[in-house]
């Protein structure tokens, strides 16, 4: 092998590595914020109504939903694909506002065949470990804020599918309104809970780190209930120190930038050398 051939092979290897690094780094840089739902600190005392003044200043995250894996009949048949999530906290309470499209306001379960619209927010009971997404697990439970158009709110504990149990003394409140009609109709729902509410199996909200959170929506008129529901992946509320959280994004973009510069440099150098050789 000539020294030229070795040099060419080396150049190609460096190029390939740099291209790989930059292609991996760019998506990584945006993946983390996609699952972050910012929590706005606010002075306003009461955001508990979906139409309360102040919500317009709170940024919304679009959270994608998909049918939950479940053994119940028609588990694949869900209709809601996105829920818009806003979160705000005062020094007293955390408010979580969900808004999603639903053409029909299903608030009755007064007939054998009718089911009510519903939604839920799920947290790990113990913020230090992320439970299985589907209702947690026996050793890693979830604390669920549930609301149904027919029966109102419930605070639930679950340690795996089928284990849902209601808290005797719920700490949450929920208010919902359905507005618009047809394709423009939406549900808007606000859950709130005192930050300092304590209790066995109740998620601590005064945490210093990120708090995992997931969402679920049921469309009653589609017969959705139990495991037939549209669910999100785990997201998180950044309750950590400072508004930015860990500087992953900056770090990764820096790596990507260096990679791009290096690729351009090496390519230029290669072309230059090739011409010089001629």
């Amino acid at each position: 092998m000539t020294s030229d051939a070795v040099r060419t092979a080396g150049l190609a290897a460096v190029l390939a590595t740099l291209v790989l690094v930059s292609s991996v780094a760019a998506p990584l840089a945006s993946a983390r914020p996609a699952h972050e739902i910012p929590v706005t600190e606010t002075e306003r005392a009461d955001l508990s109504q979906p139409a309360a003044a102040g919500w317009e200043d709170v940024p919304a995250s679009d959270v994608a939903l998909a049918s939950a894996p479940s053994g119940v009949p028609n588990a694949d048949d869900t209709t809601v694909e996105t829920v818009h999530v806003q979160a705000a906290r005062t020094d007293q309470r955390l408010f979580v506002r969900l808004e999603w499209d639903d053409a029909t306001r299903d608030v009755s379960a007064d007939d054998p065949r009718t089911f009510a619209d519903a939604a839920a927010v799920q947290f790990p009971t113990n913020a230090s470990a992320r439970p299985p997404i589907a209702m947690g697990g026996p050793g890693n439970k979830v604390n669920v804020w549930f609301w149904s158009g027919a029966t109102g709110s419930q605070e639930l504990l679950a340690g795996g599918a089928g284990s849902t149990t209601a808290f005797q003394n719920p700490a949450i409140e929920a208010n919902a309104t359905h507005s618009g009609s047809g394709g423009n109709a939406t549900w808007a729902l606000v859950y709130s809970r005192p930050l300092n509410a304590t209790g066995e199996n109740r998620t601590a909200l005064q945490t210093d780190g990120d708090l995992d959170v997931a969402f679920a929506v049921w469309n009653g008129s589609n017969g959705e209930r139990a495991g037939q529901k549209a669910v999100s992946e785990w997201h998180y509320f950044p309750f950590g120190p400072g508004p930015q959280g860990p500087p992953y994004e900056t770090l990764l973009w820096t790596v990507a930038g260096v990679a791009i510069v290096a690729v351009v440099g090496v390519t230029t150098f290669g072309i230059y050398r090739t011409r010089e050789g001629n």
Binding site: G71, V72, A109, P112, R113, A161, G162, T164, R225, A226
Partner: protein, 358 residues
């Protein structure tokens, strides 16, 4: 394999297939030849268990005319149960429409009793269907029309598809006697049990938002009444012609075991649903068809194929056995089977304490 052989031998010895983990299995035999369609069982049940708000439309015990739509209307075609005797895949089912159950009608009692109206007593409006809407209609043409009554309760199945359908395990089969119950604390009103039961014998309470069903009057079995005595379910005890026997399927000295397992004349309803019911029926006899001149001919009035559809292929042999034993008694011979079917002694008709000492 010696172990397998022992297992085979064991299952032959026990003879009765009770569900896994169940000590004994309650069972009921209803003799359809004795049912007069009086609905006393229906009312006995209703006044005990389903008079509260949200349960007005429920009849845990109902008596329907066959052939007929039944209660709820069209229940036999509403799905549920198992795809096969393997009990691994369930059949999809539907929740009946409220109109198919029928609603509790409002009557014009007030106008007639207090306001001097001379209207006939009748439902105010919306009376277009209800339980027994097609009562006594049956099928066939004069002079060969036919019908019979079919009393129905929960079958407390050995392989209950309602139990399997519940994602929360809110329904369960009691270990001591195999009664199928809905834990009202666990139920969240999803109604998979309602659609999963092929007999449509689990009902959704529209007020409590939970499902309910026949409890085989277990508090009566347990002597929870004021006198502390054990009683059979109210539908059985209150029956004027006393057409029901109550006991345990695995009580080998009892009449139910003999009728179901030995003589094989008591048959489950729609065995093809594969849930293995523990309510059994003595199939109905009817006089032969008549000619236009009024002469009886040797043709089944109730088409045999219809009875096979209801009770399975075992109905041919069951009817043959009963006919053979009837003939014996006509000739003055003894027949244990005929004695069993005619026994009026409650101590034998209701054998509920046989396993109390275990």
């Amino acid at each position: 394999m010696s172990t397998d052989q022992q297992d085979d031998q064991g299952s032959e010895d026990s003879l009765v297939d009770v569900a896994e983990g169940i000590d004994h299995q309650v069972a009921m035999v209803m003799d359809l030849n004795k049912c007069i369609g009086c609905q006393t069982c229906t009312i006995a049940c209703k006044s005990l268990w389903t008079e509260d708000g949200g349960s007005e439309y429920m009849y845990w015990n109902n008596v329907e005319t066959k052939p007929g739509e039944g209660y709820p209307r069209g229940w036999e075609d509403s799905g549920g149960g198992w795809q096969s005797g393997e009990h691994s895949e369930r059949q999809t089912g539907e929740i009946p429409d409220q109109e198919d159950y029928g609603r509790a009608w409002e009557f014009n009692h007030n106008e007639i009793m207090y306001e001097g109206s001379d209207e006939p007593l009748r439902p105010r409006e919306g009376a277009e269907w209800g339980p027994n809407w097609d009562e006594d209609r049956g099928a066939g043409e004069y002079p060969n029309s036919y019908y019979f009554y079919l009393p129905r309760i929960c079958n407390h199945c050995t392989h209950p598809s309602c139990v399997e359908a519940c994602p929360r395990s809110a329904l369960y089969k009691r270990e001591e006697d195999g009664i199928v119950l809905v834990d009202q604390e666990r139920c969240r009103g999803y109604r998979y049990c309602v659609e999963g039961c092929p007999y449509k014998k689990v009902y959704y309470n529209t007020v409590s938002k939970k499902s309910e069903k026949c409890i085989f009057c277990y508090p009566r079995l347990e002597g929870e009444g004021p006198d502390g005595e054990t009683y059979a379910p109210a539908c059985a005890e209150e029956c004027p012609p006393q057409l029901r026997m109550v006991g345990f399927l695995d009580d080998e000295d009892g009449p139910i075991y003999k009728l179901v397992e030995e003589y094989e004349v008591a048959l489950p309803l729609h065995p093809e649903f594969q849930t293995q019911p523990n309510v059994y029926y003595i199939p109905p006899f009817a006089p032969g068809q008549h000619t236009e001149d009024g002469e009886t001919v040797d043709i089944d009035r109730i088409p045999r194929q219809y009875l096979r559809e209801l009770f399975g292929d075992g109905v041919d042999e069951a009817l043959d056995t009963i006919e053979r034993e009837r003939q014996r008694t006509r000739q003055g011979e003894d027949s244990e089977l005929m004695d069993l079917l005619q026994d009026k002694n409650p101590a034998k008709q209701y054998r509920l304490g046989v396993f109390d000492d275990e």
